[in-house]
Point group: C2
Chain length 304, copies 2
């Protein structure tokens, strides 16, 4: 089990030469997800050598340009690359009509099937599940309908404790799968050896919560409680808390407060306003509240 | 009078790290025009230090992604930059609904007025005119409705020939404007001195023709005859003339043939397919037909 997050872009508003709008690539438990897709994301995907073909699920938090204007280009490029696998897009209602209209007007056809999952709920809901991972929405509070996303590994199999099974010669390697699945072992004489005696707990699961864009919203804390890694937007510093409130964004201090209250293991912040030339100021402010902190930067990889 | 063309992007299909899709910035007779707007164009505008505020007219040749997926982002950015001046967009029918739908869904409002000029004609037509410049469409032949654009300086005023006016003491400097406007001068004794005697021809006007994307289409030659600078797409080399025909693009040789037959002063080619790693091959092929040739490259400026 592993979690690796690659920041493709982490600035707000307009793309600049060295400031790319929001997009992230998440690898969790061998699943690969793209989160948000600002203009130029496909260029960033190439720059950081991410395989286009690995992306089967794209999650769009909200329909502001710096989070989705790159989506149509990426969808068209998948067509040019002769993609055949289905592509799933999760995002606010309206996204399907918008993308389809652009595909139609640009006479872009795709061999692959584009499957939209339009979101409307104001409550956290399960939107993706397979045998390895679940994804839930995190309802956020912004100027338009916005969701964060919570990615969780499912718990793996129990681990056979060889120092214990060796004590019971009746247990054969072909019994291990049952032990991994949590079954007790019954000796020929009828004695039951409990599964807990023979196995260790599975590896601890990892989880990633993506929260952008949003005003300070403490009621997300129960949803993201104890996650391994939290990305929370920090568009402003505390000196412009008024502007954060007005534009429904957060300050670095507020992001750190959410992390503290949710007792997350690690925090990563981004979505910096272009008014701040020195992004280390965000770190200085946030770490007074929550020290285990990373500043998002394009190309940065966080492996856990 | 002057003409300066800046190439912002000149590759076809998908944006790559060092291959930007089509966009050009044209300065002609103190007018400033953006031509096509592939994804990432606003980043290129910043990179090459072009003033956003100078752009009042954007011409979109056709609705393939590599020519217009950057338009919505640029329009949104103008809003963020608090633009107040009108912005005119010229492009195929459908562009207005598409942009407006995106603005609405992304809750993007603009202080400035966005004025669309939707094109449907299959004949060359005048689409812009002021006291300095005219712009006509050049009907092209591609997989979707496509226009090139012909930018022409208007002829300036005649130039007073001081070596001639000095011969007539009655002519005062306050008469010069009439001479510049082409009027004859009448001496007090009634003798008419013809304007041609007293003035020189105005500077030669400059013109720029942008032709992309298109299959080889000799019937554009009369429209672009004798232009100062012609940009003609060259997606393929002659070895893939079959593919050029099928996809309704041109080869380098075909672009050069158009330039030769139109007796243009200078040719610039671009829109290279990513299959060619060495773009100098395009130059080698084209200059066998038309030697006065430039290869488009992002950041290249052509001043005439």
């Amino acid at each position: 089990m592993s979690l690796k997050l690659t920041i493709l872009g982490c600035h707000s508003a307009t793309p600049r030469v060295n400031a790319h709008p929001t997009s992230q690539y998440l690898e969790i438990n061998n699943r690969h997800f793209l989160i948000d897709c600002g203009e130029g994301t496909q260029r960033q995907i190439r720059k950081y050598k991410i395989g286009f073909s690995k992306i089967d699920h794209i999650f769009i938090s909200h329909l502001h340009g710096d989070h989705f204007f790159g989506l149509i280009g990426l969808i068209a490029t998948f067509g040019i690359l002769n993609r055949e696998k289905d592509l799933h897009v999760y995002g606010p209602k309206g996204i399907k009509e918008l993308i389809n209209m652009q595909l139609k007007l640009s006479s872009t056809w795709t061999k692959y099937t584009l499957i939209f999952h339009e979101l409307t709920s104001k409550k956290s809901e399960l939107i993706f599940e397979d045998e390895k991972v679940t994804v839930h929405t995190i309802p956020l509070h912004h100027r338009v309908y916005t969701n964060g996303f919570l990615f969780r590994e499912k718990e793996g199999l129990r681990k056979v404790d060889l120092s214990k099974t060796v004590l019971y010669p009746e247990i054969d390697t072909c019994d291990y799968q049952n032990l991994k699945n949590g079954k007790d072992f019954v000796l020929e004489n009828g004695t039951v050896i409990s599964n807990k005696t023979l196995t260790k707990n599975p590896n601890k699961t990892k989880s990633y919560a993506f929260c952008s864009d949003t005003s300070y919203k403490p009621d997300i804390v129960p949803i993201i409680k104890n996650v391994t890694l939290l990305y929370h937007e920090a568009t402003f510093l505390n000196d412009r808390e008024d502007l954060a409130k007005k534009t429904r964004h957060s300050t670095a201090k507020q992001a750190a407060t959410i992390a503290l209250n949710a007792t997350v293991e690690q925090l990563i912040i981004g979505h910096y306003s272009s008014r701040y030339k020195d992004i280390t100021l965000f770190k200085k402010e946030a770490e007074t509240v929550f020290p285990n902190l990373i500043l998002a930067e394009a190309g940065k990889e966080i492996k856990i």
